[in-house]
Amino acid sequence: MKKSGFITLILALACFTAQADPPRLVIGAVYVGSVNDYGYNRSFHDALAQVARDLPGVKVLEAENVPESATAEGIMEGMIQQGARLIFPTSFGYAASARKVAKRHKDVAFEYAGDGDASRNFGVFFGSTQIAWYPMGVAAGRMTKTNKLGFVVGMPIGYALGNVNAFQMGARSVNKKVQTVVVVTGGWADKAKEAGAANALMDQGCDVVGMHVDSPATIIQTVEARGGMSIGFQSTEARALAPKGWITGLGFTWAPFFTKVARDVMAGKFRGEAVYQGLGGMVAIAPFGPSVSADVQRQVNEAAQKIIKGFNPFTGPIKDNRGNLVLPPGASIGSDQMGSFDWYAEGIIGKVR
């Protein structure tokens, strides 16, 4: 998703352990952007720092701003030469390079943040955010005064549509009158259009705005300047951007899974598999803003607990925003089908294509 054709290659040798003994495990992590982005890349960096703190003898090699090209292959080879036995290619576009390197080094474990097949030394993982947007909708549905929510989407792919749908369904579960207006910018990082989209939503009387773009910074700050409220995405740190209007948000928490994988590799029992986790696993809810009452917080946390216990809001009957029954009673959309949405749920103002 990240446009990063141009290299600012910094091979940072971050050594989190200060001991003189040879490390018990060297981990290599390849990032598409900067770990200072307070977003996607930062979430992996923080998780690996946590792993190094929790497991003595673990050393982490990190490479930032690595393009999604053959360059990534070279970086991973270099890490293996420096002793890495576990590699995290953390961007979707590393698939081809990572799979090639994994074929050449059967003794090295790979955990790739994306999708596709897993193999003996190649695991696949990702945080499933769609259903996690449901409690975000609960928060928005309770906080709105105009009953109009806004949502800025970079590209109308299935995963993004799923986020919006769960958001609206969560909002509707606590507020029957609520609508969600969707604006598509046409790019994951077209910042000027994101500002324009946020302004357009505010012009239409939306008072709570959510988003699915690379970095939420522009939208959150534009909404804050117009006196609106926002729900963040990609980073639980984004609340610094909106001291007044921040409600809550979603971010990634990879540390527990990474720690388990590192332990498995050290014990010699690593087996690659596909692991997708939502709330309670790889996805977490950010702290609430100052304007969110204890009652709203309790209701959001209840919705989150319900989801952690297995509640799936994408269970029929569900109607789309044109009144068609898209999911018959009893049928549901599983967490492995979150990319398959091609409709907007009832109450969403927007057109898919």
């Binding site: 600012t8 307070y38 046409g186 910042k191 000027a192 500002a195 324009g196 357009a200 610094a240 927007g350």
Partner: protein, 306 residues
């Protein structure tokens, strides 16, 4: 309170059009001296990145703005060294400058991705805020660059068409040989035009990162430099028509976002194409008379009087 569509589009047109206008004015100056800088996109990016970085480090957006302007001027001076002094091909050098700008801006901006900055301050006179609808919209709540956009366009027009220096620049753009024969130094005039044009392009980039979006992201200009090059042709190398061009394109972009926010039933993909379709239509409609308007020496390298 809901803002009427026309007001929303106008407000969006001004915000999005500001950086377009500065970029178009800068390129107009440069092209009037006979040089095409296809690297404008890269200059915008460098301005946005350096402006943001300096603001993040110093905490002062005015220092960031000055640094962005200086960066734009220096970038164009480097381009001038290539195409004026070294007589390199302008189109190839321009494209190389664009990629250079992509890389350098990413390198400079990388450590400050995600930094929170205080942007350029905005003012709205009280009597304007008192108008109906205005207080609830972004209308007239502008930073210095937006307030100065129209005066700067007038200034560029005045300098180009009403001063001796402007006459020299235009003479060089039409026929460097004739200008040289009449006692002007084409290289000096082209360097000066490139320098001022670069400052304007740097300011255009800074408006994006220091006011409109308050963030730096790789390739955040998303093609605005190329739109500005098209707008130079649209405005027939006239700084005053550039104002209309920037507003029209900014308005088309704002219109597609505003229509979506109003629940329009048009496909978002079609709405997304609107500004570019508009650009194509305008270029098509004005294509016939383009030869009359373009500086005659545009894109040609002057090898001296030998």
């Amino acid at each position: 309170m809901m803002t009427p569509l026309a007001l929303g589009v106008l407000a969006g047109a001004v915000l999005s059009g500001t950086s377009l206008l500065y970029a178009t004015l800068g390129e107009t100056l440069v092209e009037r001296s006979g040089i095409v800088n296809l690297g404008l996109e890269g200059v915008l990016l460098m301005g946005a990145s350096v402006g943001f970085t300096v603001t993040a480090v110093t905490g002062n957006p005015w220092i960031g703005l000055a640094a962005a302007a200086l960066t734009g001027g220096l970038a164009n001076a480097l381009f001038g060294w290539l195409v004026v002094l070294r007589k390199a091909n302008q189109l190839a050098s321009g494209l190389a400058m664009m990629f250079f700008g992509f890389g350098l801006s990413a390198l400079v901006g990388a450590p400050h991705v995600g930094a929170v900055i205080v942007g350029l301050p905005k003012w709205r006179p009280a009597w304007l805020a008192a108008l109906p609808w205005v207080s609830a919209s972004t209308l007239f709540n502008y930073d210095l660059l937006t307030w100065l956009a129209l005066p700067v366009a007038l200034l560029v027009w005045w300098v180009l068409f009403k001063t001796r220096w402007g006459l020299g620049v235009r003479a060089v753009g039409e026929s460097p040989g004739a200008a040289y024969a009449s006692g002007r130094n084409p290289a000096v005039l082209q360097f000066q035009a490139l320098g001022f044009g670069g400052v304007l392009a740097g300011l255009a980039g800074a408006h994006l990162s220091l006011s409109l979006t308050l963030t730096w992201a790789e390739y955040m200009t998303a093609g605005r430099g190329f739109i500005a090059i098209a707008l130079v042709i649209f405005s027939k190398w006239n700084p005053l028509r550039a104002v209309a061009g920037a507003l029209l394109f900014g308005g088309a972009e704002a219109l597609q976002l505003q229509l979506q926010a109003r629940g329009s039933l048009i496909s978002p993909f079609i709405l997304d194409m609107m500004p570019y379709v508009l650009t194509l239509l305008v270029l098509l409609a004005w294509g016939g008379s383009r030869r009359l308007a373009a500086p005659a020496g545009l894109g040609r390298t002057f090898f001296g009087s030998e």
